[in-house]
């Protein structure tokens, strides 16, 4: 397990790289990109080594190390260290791979940008932040990484900060996630308070999960803590209704979108839930919340993607939808399914974003209506994009197929377990996730089909002045004047501005962001052409990866030479997780911590003795050799098929099996959706896009269910335009008004005193003195404008209220 001890290197390298790039990047021949690439390449190698070691050794004993700690008041320590197990290793592999590809890609994509060096420093810093979270041994370090991810994303989304929309998007992302972050902070503390009854190391993830699994945390602690942490995860991982920042975050450069959507930011929420899964699994209410939020997200976000014209927005909503799958899977007991989908999705979503970036790079527009026929111009982009789309849509044998299949199967198992245990709500959520997940898959297939057909098929629509046939003919004949072509392109975009209010900003952003910043914005007077080798390398690598990663956890793993004893589940499981069962299902029993630790020690011995001990278990997991509660192993080993009356109340389901019914339904859905998409969009872009003419439904979707409006009109506007002025007004007017009367009464009293005593008693002779006093008083009065009286009055009123309410009322 030596490599596991070096996980910190993966974290440290991007950080060092960020520092070096920031300090010396401008002086370097490649402007700092070489440092970032070298660092992430080394980190990637280490990550793959760790990934390999953890994979071949089955569920490994987590390596927990603390490098540095500081007291944080009271007996609380904040510790920074690393916690490396299969789940960590999986994330390390994912993050470094995607970050590596994105950085390679950015070398070309961001070429010639003013702040190229800054951009690379930020990419490294962003990667570092996520890795801090991934290796966190305690929730405080996780929180630090989480917050750093937020800050970095703020800086990267606002990269083109001269555009107001972009900085607005950055602000929106920051504020929305910040809202969730506070939930996270409180949630972490709530859990820590519960843990503090049993141990001193209150933020330790290991201790927290073990105590929860052993049933030693109270129900309210778990429910409140988990729901608050889930709030943070919802904001970060774009679950409805806190997803509103995510589509806007497309304002950042496309490589950043790829990084955010595939590996770094949005996966943080799902990862954190997975990390604390033994805690989440303790409460039915928490699980149901996750399942319902996830299902709503996966289903409704997909529909919004259908009506988008901006390719990045399509992908953004598809990310939200896929994150919904992950959260829903976690909510229906599909721990492995959820993170498996996280893993596979990372690869193909990075691929799709980078592919769309390649298109945008060539076309200088984000809009699919400006594309069309691109497969002729950009064959590599086309084929890789198709691979990514197929994976996303869940075409058989691609990565997305296996992971989505897992999610659906988990939902089925959950439903049947719930029915067998008499817990009706799990039966309900299980079925909900299964059927809506299937429907969502069809929607996914449809909008990806729509995108692929609109972008790559038909004819090139960059020239609105000509009919498509003419353009085709001219292109064929080679008579098209490139200069005119370009001007027409611009003209088309401007016409688009005038008529299409929705995409106006996008076009502007596309032009300002790319047209002006790229060298060939001026020299690009030609038809779209294929991108350079660095972009294509990244695309091809990710496309190649988008297929085999699915086999790791799929039911065909045996067939392609893998072993059932070493699949994705054994990779990412922990010893603790193998023992965890859902307390609300039948026959559940809490984990016996002593046995767990005893078992681990012996398990380690067994590992040393060789792997020979693991003969024969059908879906066995390496620790089956340890003397654990026999019942647990049996249930685990037999892998409840569901519906057989036997309840599998364990988190892990064992090796996946082939479910013909799920396969048929999924494939049928896929074919139906792709057929529909082909019918509508296959030949050419329809003059009347049917999805844009569905009346109220289209309006609803185009306005994204009015979530932005609700957020804006319901929260931002009232606070800005109403509550704040009202508070200001009430403090100036109402409160003042109340006390003004008091003040007025006092003044009248003073006047009476003045007129009767002063005027009559001390009359005449000192008129001069009185005159100057009046003059001073008038001066002072103007200075104070009567306000101090009000202030004093308000203060007295406050005292009286305090005394009456709190003292006398007792």
């Amino acid at each position: 397990m030596e490599a596991l001890n070096y996980a910190w290197l993966i974290v440290a390298l991007p950080f060092v790289a960020a520092g070096v790039i920031a300090a010396f990047g401008r002086l370097m021949p490649l402007k700092g990109a070489e440092v970032g690439l070298a660092a992430i390449a080394i980190a990637w190698v280490v990550a793959v080594m760790i990934g390999y070691q953890t994979f071949v050794n089955g569920p490994v004993e987590a390596v927990e190390q603390v490098f540095w700690s500081a007291p944080l008041g009271g007996s609380v320590l904040i510790e920074f260290g690393q916690y490396v197990d299969g789940l960590t290793a999986m994330m390390l592999v994912l993050v470094t791979t995607v970050s590596f590809m994105v950085q390679l890609y950015s070398r070309e994509y961001m070429h010639g940008e003013d702040r190229f060096t800054y951009f690379f420093a930020m990419l490294s810093l962003f990667t570092f932040s996520m890795l801090v979270l991934v290796v966190a041994p305690n929730t405080l370090q996780a929180l630090v990484g989480w917050e750093l991810v937020g800050v970095c994303s703020y800086l990267l989304i606002g990269y083109y900060w001269l555009e107001k929309t972009n900085s607005d998007a950055a602000n929106k992302a920051f504020l929305t996630t910040k809202f969730g972050d506070i939930g996270l902070v409180v949630g972490i503390i709530v859990l820590s308070v519960g843990v503090s009854a049993h141990t001193d190391n209150v933020f330790s993830i290991r201790e927290t999960t073990e105590l929860a699994a052993a049933g030693m945390l109270s129900e309210p602690t778990i429910v409140l803590g988990c729901l608050l942490i889930f709030l943070g995860a919802m904001a970060k991982s774009g679950q409805m209704p806190l997803h509103v920042w995510l589509p806007d975050a497309m304002a950042g450069p496309t490589p950043v979108s790829a990084l955010i959507h595939a590996a770094t930011m949005v996966t943080a929420g799902v990862f954190l839930i997975a990390r604390l899964y033994p805690v989440f699994a303790q409460s039915l209410a928490v699980m149901n919340t996750m399942a319902i939020v996830g299902t709503i997200t996966l289903f409704f976000a997909g529909f919004v993607a259908i009506v988008q014209d901006d390719i990045k927005k399509v992908l953004a909503y598809s990310t939200i939808s896929q994150l919904g799958y992950m959260v829903a899977a976690l909510g229906v007991g599909g721990y492995t399914a959820g993170i498996f989908h996280l893993f596979t999705h990372g690869f193909f979503k990075a691929l799709l974003f980078l592919g769309s970036g390649s298109l945008i790079h060539a076309i200088h527009s984000n809009n699919m209506s400006d594309m069309g026929g691109m497969r002729k111009f950009m064959p590599v982009t086309f084929w890789t994009f198709v691979v990514g789309s197929l994976a996303l849509a869940g075409f058989p044998l691609t990565a997305g197929f296996f992971s989505k299949d897992e999610v659906l199967v988990s939902a089925q198992i959950w439903a049947s377990n719930g029915a067998a245990s008499g817990v009706s709500s799990t039966a309900l959520t299980g079925n909900l996730v299964f059927w809506l997940g299937l429907a969502g898959a069809m929607v996914t297939t449809f909008y990806m089909g729509r995108s692929v057909f609109l972008i790559f098929f038909g004819t090139h629509r960059g020239v609105s002045a000509h009919t498509p046939e003419e353009v085709e003919a001219e292109v064929a004949a080679g008579t098209l004047d490139p200069q005119a072509e370009m001007e027409d392109l611009d003209q088309a975009a401007h016409d688009q501005d005038a008529v299409d209010d929705l995409s106006q900003q996008d076009v502007a952003a596309g032009h300002a962001g790319h047209g002006s910043d790229h060298d060939h914005g001026s020299g690009g007077h030609h038809l779209p052409h294929e991108s350079g080798w660095q972009i294509l390398t990244a695309l091809v690598v990710l496309a190649v990866l988008s297929v085999p990663v699915g086999f790791l956890g799929g039911f065909l793993w045996d067939e392609v030479g893998g072993s059932t004893e070493r699949n994705f589940e054994t990779w990412t499981a922990t010893h603790l997780l193998e023992e965890v069962s859902y307390p609300f299902l039948a026959d559940a029993h809490p984990v016996d911590l002593e046995e767990l630790h005893g078992g681990e020690a012996e398990g380690a011995d067994a590992d040393h003795a060789g792997d020979g001990a693991e003969e024969g278990e059908a879906a066995g997991i390496s620790t089956d050799v340890t003397p654990l509660a026999a019942g647990a192993d049996l249930v685990l080993a037999t892998e409840a098929e569901g519906g057989e009356g036997e309840v599998d109340n364990h988190v892990l389901h064992g090796a996946p099996e082939f479910h013909l019914n799920v396969f048929v339904l999924a494939l049928g859905g896929f074919l139906a959706a792709i057929a529909l998409a082909w019918t509508i969009y296959g030949r050419s872009r329809p003059m009347r896009d049917p999805v844009l003419h569905m009346g109220g439904v289209t309006t609803l979707l185009e306005n994204k269910y009015y979530f932005d409006d609700i957020g804006y009109r319901g929260v931002v506007v009232p606070v800005r335009d109403w509550l704040a002025p009202a508070a200001s007004w009430s403090s100036n007017v109402i409160l003042d008004g109340i006390v003004k009367n008091t003040g007025g009464a006092v003044k009248r009293l003073a006047d009476v005193t003045y007129f009767t005593i002063d005027q009559k008693v001390i009359d005449g002779g000192i008129n001069g003195g009185a005159f100057s006093a009046a003059w001073i008083s008038s001066k002072l009065k103007r200075l104070q404008s009567g306000d101090v009286q009000r202030y004093a009055g308000a203060m007295l009123a406050g005292v009286i209220v305090l005394v009456v309410v709190f003292a006398a009322a007792r």
Binding site: G73, S167, V186, Y791, F806
Partner: protein, 490 residues
């Protein structure tokens, strides 16, 4: 009764420095007058030198009315560090504007003498004297630009409200003396303990009146009205002093009377202060959203910050030593964490204001391009005030939330709920300034920002501190954790 001179050494050093400053000011003329600033700085450093050895000691002198323990030492160090920082941002500001420099530094030092006494005072009368020693020089300093109407207005308002609140407080103290027959804090606690569960309303009223005196100092709603007007009219370094050091002194006094003297009646004042906390942070943040003037924005933000600092008071319960201890520690930690960025924000304001008179938010347009360092510093300070990483502000909010979770009752969660809502609102106006600095173009013909060397150094030190404490919160949390106030209160 021998006087323990080591215990009062920091105060004595500052007193001597104040007198020397006043005398030296007589001798120096013209431009040389500004040399009193480093002189005062040296005095502060010597005072720090005398304070540090007191760490770990438990000293008591003047018949137990003056106590030096770790809690007092921590607060004294906070005061002295903020004195140094305020001297740093004052130098150029006062040297260039032909103020009454000698008088200013004298008054500033005198005010800080009062602050140093505050955390050590264990008697209502000494607390009162300390409070007045802090306030009275403040009245004069606020009006130091005496030819400026706004400055005079600021001083007058500050004075009138101050006098009123002190009158209320004295009224309360006299009634309290009538009920308990003592002015010693621990004596009062003993006497109050005998009243049991049914104290006469007048006793509770006197208790709340005493609290009101400090409520003025910390600018809690509804005793905050003076704060924005006074900050806006005062010289900016004085505003920084009032917003940070003077407020900290108010909290030190409030901690002493509430957690020591009135501890048996925590059930009365805790909800009262909790409700005040809610009003203070909500009103402060909401009104801050509307501000266009940076000083006013910072003033309202400091009102809101006072609300956050009041939250732990709302958690207190009589007899629950661990909860009270956590509450005090959270407040002290928050105060320590709030000092650096807030003085820093005023420092950047001084830099931008210098030679140009700029002070509205629009004047910060394009600061990122005009002076990246100051913009970076301001961003750090504002993020810290809002509680975002990578600044110490994150841990400060964290400490409060942790104390709230420790208390764990419904009211605690209500308070935390308002903390959450307010943190989000606060980000709107903090980020607005950040946005203006980095993402808008400067107006044509804007004056250049010329902070000068020593202001830059002070700002850099404050940025460094703000970020360093994010990485090593232990530097202050070690100390605040040791402020075992509830045990060592008498």
């Amino acid at each position: 009764m021998a006087i323990d001179f080591a215990a009062i050494a920091p105060e004595l050093v500052l007193t001597a420095t104040a007198i020397v400053v006043l005398l030296v000011d007589l001798v120096l003329t013209g431009g040389a007058k500004q040399l009193v600033n480093p002189l005062a700085g040296i005095g502060a450093l010597v005072a720090i030198g005398f304070t540090l050895p007191l760490w770990g000691d438990d000293r008591s002198t003047f018949g137990g009315t003056f106590v030096v323990n770790d809690y007092a030492v921590v607060l004294k160090l906070i005061f002295l560090v903020s004195l140094l920082a305020i001297l740093g941002i004052s130098w150029r500001y006062f040297a260039e504007s032909r103020f009454f420099q000698g008088e200013y530094y004298f008054l500033l030092l005198v005010s800080f003498i009062g602050m140093l006494i505050m955390p050590s005072a264990r008697d209502l009368l000494l607390l009162f004297v300390a409070l007045e020693t802090v306030s009275i020089p403040g009245f004069v300093m606020a009006g130091l630009r005496k030819r400026d109407l706004y400055s005079s207005e600021a001083a007058i308002k500050f004075f009138l409200i101050g006098v009123l609140s002190v009158a209320l407080m004295l009224f309360g103290i006299s009634m309290m003396y009538g009920f308990t027959g003592t002015t010693s804090l621990s004596g009062i606690a003993q006497e109050l303990g005998q009243w049991g569960s049914s104290p006469p309303p007048l006793l509770l009223a006197s208790l709340l009146l005493i609290i009101v005196g400090f409520g003025f100092k910390i600018s809690a709603v509804p005793f905050h009205f003076w704060a924005p007007d006074t900050y806006a009219g005062s010289p900016i370094p004085v505003a920084a002093m009032l917003a940070v050091a003077s407020k900290t002194a108010g909290f030190a006094g409030l901690i002493a009377v509430t957690f020591i003297a009135f501890e048996p009646f925590a059930e009365v004042w805790a909800p009262a202060l909790g409700v005040l906390a809610i009003f203070t942070m909500s009103l402060g943040n909401l009104v801050a959203l509307q501000q266009r003037d940076m000083v006013r924005l910072l003033a309202w933000s400091s009102v809101a910050q006072a609300g956050y600092m009041l939250i732990p008071f709302g958690l207190a319960a009589s007899g629950a030593a661990d909860v009270n201890e956590a509450a005090v520690q959270a407040t002290v930690f928050y105060i320590a964490a709030y000092t650096l960025p807030n003085i820093g924000a005023f420092g950047v304001l001084v830099a931008v204001n210098r030679r140009s008179g700029y002070r509205s938010i629009e004047d910060f347009a394009g600061l990122g391009a005009r002076h990246p360092f100051m913009a970076m510093a301001m961003t750090t300070f504002l993020l810290s005030l809002g509680g975002a990483p990578p600044t110490v502000g994150l841990w400060a909010k964290f400490a409060i939330v942790q104390a709230g979770a420790r208390a764990g009752d419904t009211f605690a969660y209500v308070l935390l709920f308002f903390l959450i809502i307010n943190s989000v609102i606060a980000f709107f106006y903090y980020l607005k300034v950040v946005w203006v600095m980095w993402m808008t173009e400067p107006r044509d013909g804007m004056e250049p920002v010329t902070p000068g060397v020593n202001l830059s150094l002070v700002t850099a030190a404050l940025v460094f501190g703000t970020v360093l404490l994010f990485l090593l919160p232990g530097l202050i949390s070690d100390a605040t954790a040791a402020t075992d106030l509830v045990a060592g209160l008498s």
